[in-house]
Symmetry: C2
Subunit: 203 residues, 2 copies
Amino acid sequence: MQLSPKLTQLVDALRCLPGIGPKSAQRIAFHLLERDREGGAQLGQALNQAMQDIGHCQSCRTFTEQDICELCSNIKRQDSGLLCIVESPSDVLAVEQTGHYQGLYFVLMGHLSPLDGIGPNEIGLDVLEQKLAQGSINEVILATNPTVEGETTAHYIAQLCKQYNVGASRIAHGVPVGGELDLVDGMTLSHAFNGRKQVQYES
Amino acid sequence: MQLSPKLTQLVDALRCLPGIGPKSAQRIAFHLLERDREGGAQLGQALNQAMQDIGHCQSCRTFTEQDICELCSNIKRQDSGLLCIVESPSDVLAVEQTGHYQGLYFVLMGHLSPLDGIGPNEIGLDVLEQKLAQGSINEVILATNPTVEGETTAHYIAQLCKQYNVGASRIAHGVPVGGELDLVDGMTLSHAFNGRKQVQYES
Ligand SMILES: [Zn+2]
Ligand SMILES: [Zn+2]
């Protein structure tokens, strides 16, 4: 390689991006230097600021550079009595994009995984317990992933809710809308059968 | 979207990377914040330094933060009398990776394109002319791309070489080694036929 030190450094640093190998890193570095130095400099600043300043919301643990995020600051949501529990900030966005949920969130930033040393405190369940104790939550909606770890975590939190007399519900699993039955895995299909609802006939 | 201002800024800034849409930008931002803040910060610094400090070699015009790049500083290459002309810094790397060329380079940073206002001076041919006038170059190897613009540019530079009594050669075009004949385009195949060489029989 005959790249200058700073160019080598840039190519190496680009490898931290998911799915970027050495060839792509080189291509991106040349692209920015040749055609978009302003964009590259803006990205550099945005990265530095984000990595330094973005922490977690003190109330829901999602990513934010504020103490309390916008969702948690929303009085309508505070009054809803609903708390949706998800594993990651991107899950919050996914639920928000449906436009149908108007309650608060709590982001675990992971799931229970005792073998990896991730217990209740590591996923903020101590903070969640304080919330449940305060009495402003009427229903906890468990929206952890439909994986073994997600189910275990949901089960654990449901027990916690019971302790504090707070209702808990689990989001429905089943065949995705628009999906084809024969492409759905067996576990999902079992869930779909177990969660079946009586058809309401028009009278 | 319910992302905090600095997170929104980061997601937007990531869009300057070639081939990164809004979904991927969001995924990358979350990945860095969740799993690789150090890598993200390093990338931020590398980008800022590269965009600010990396310019062009005063001799060959390739990317470097030094006045004269490493390749141009190499005395063996200076003494070779060979000057390979390419369109972009990534072409230098491609030729270097063959390990067979030991001469100097000159990087046009583009090709002649009169309709876009890119004339001889825009691709550094004034600098090249000074080099040719100095008399230390014996042969110019024209390795511009085998496109219409690349051929036009090569032709123009060949005329320049003639003026200064410097030999010029064009890299061979033909069927790629390991390629299949029926997958090669007609233009390349014509080049391959025109550039055919007599088979040397063993005696
Ligand atoms: Zn929050
Ligand atoms: Zn140079």
